[in-house]
């Protein structure tokens, strides 16, 4: 894929740098001469997944009653997802869905966090990733609902009992649209947060670079401020990384809970 065209800004050196940044963050092949064309994002995604696999397998081998070190860290995550997400939202039967929601949580978390270490990109900073996972969530939660009450009942539950006949088709259509929008909003939310975070970091990095290249009195002020913003945003991005992993998992749990209790709301 080619770099996004930014016609208005192309004239100025700042515009060039920003265009370059956007090109860096756009989805493109990781290496031009690779046999299998991984994109820049998927390259880092695979690294994150491998790190996650090693981390979890090592942590699970170290699981003991009195936790320590790496086991403690993994456990904090497991406990958060299992108790604060699965059980708190779905109820005691939520533990059954922990492997699925936990996989999502750790996957999103590791990709988000790895993206904070330059030059890595967050595997979740591309819609290719976020939409895929959002669609998986969509298929799984609907599958759970259908498995529980049967396809007919599940579809019928889109229209709450007691709805007037003339209103039922409208409600049904609205409900179907709202369900279909879920993977979209789920995917866009995560992608936009990660992508926007990196654009912000990139823009302040461009400010620093530009101010040093074209030194001026204003630049002397811009450099420390932009550098400070870099630091602040890095910390903020760490927070966003954890928060977005939490939100993605919590919404997954909410959708599963909704599918399990169709027609009760």
């Amino acid at each position: 894929m080619s770099a996004p065209v930014v016609p208005a800004a192309e004239a100025s050196p700042m515009g060039e740098k920003i265009a370059e940044l956007l090109h860096e963050l756009s989805v493109r092949p990781f290496s031009e001469n690779a046999a299998f064309s991984l994109t820049n994002y998927t390259f880092w995604l695979i690294i994150a997944v491998l790190l996650l696999l090693v981390f979890m397998v090592v942590a699970s081998r170290k699981a003991k009653l009195v936790p320590s070190g790496i086991g403690n860290l993994a456990e904090a995550g497991v406990e958060l997802v299992r108790n604060s997400i699965c059980v708190d939202i779905i109820g005691p039967e939520g533990k059954k869905y922990f492997p699925f929601i936990g996989t999502i949580f750790f996957f999103v978390l590791f990709n988000n966090l790895l993206g904070n270490i330059p030059p890595a990109l967050p595997g979740t900073g591309t819609v290719g990733t976020t939409f895929t996972w959002a669609i998986i969530v969509f298929l799984v939660y609907n599958g759970i609902g259908i498995k529980k009450v049967g396809f007919g009942h599940y579809i019928k539950s889109f229209v709450p009992a007691g709805t007037p006949m003339w209103l039922a088709p409208l409600i049904f259509v609205i409900e179907v649209i709202s369900h279909l929008l879920r993977p979209f909003t789920l995917g866009i939310r995560l992608f936009a947060n990660m992508y926007a975070g990196h654009i912000m970091l990139g823009v302040f990095a461009v400010f620093v670079a530009m101010s040093i290249e074209h030194f001026s009195a204003v630049g002397a002020l811009v450099v420390p401020l932009s550098f400070l913003m870099q630091v602040v945003l890095r910390v903020f991005e760490l927070f966003v990384a954890v928060l977005q992993a939490y939100i993605f998992s919590i919404l997954t749990a909410v959708y599963i809970n909704g599918a399990l209790h169709t027609g009760e709301h």
Binding site: T42, L45, L53, V57, P99, T103, F107, T126
Partner: protein, 166 residues
Amino acid sequence: MELIIPNTTEMWVNVAAFVVLFIVMWKVAFPPMTKMLDERAEKIRDSIEKAEETRVEAERLLEEYRQQMADARTEAAKIIEQGRTVAENMKAEILAKAREEAEAEKTRTLEAIRAEKAAAMAELQTSVADLSVAVAGKIIGEKLDPAEHHALIERYIAEVGSLNEK
């Protein structure tokens, strides 16, 4: 718009990533951790229950000891009280006995003294009477009939003796 059109290669990589991750997490990584978490929760619940039981037991024991202490204190007070009563009774008894004995001794002694005195008096009376008769005889001459005058003197001495006894 290009931004939100997913790249199909990326999507397939993600599907593969999901499948691999999910299987490994579900079958390998999570079970020991969740099992251990459940065990720990169980252990903590047990510990708390046990601690609660121990606390209740300790409280019961404390209450028991407190009761025993109070009982012992009451018992001790009772024993001391009894001892005191016994001692006082004994004291009163001993005193009474001693007083009685002393009284008896005194009475006996007084009796003896009185008897001695009476004997001495009687003897003295006889002697004084004889002596008086003799003296009077000497003074008045042989005219005095001893038997007649003896009675007179006896009466006189008795009068003097009764004065003396008062």
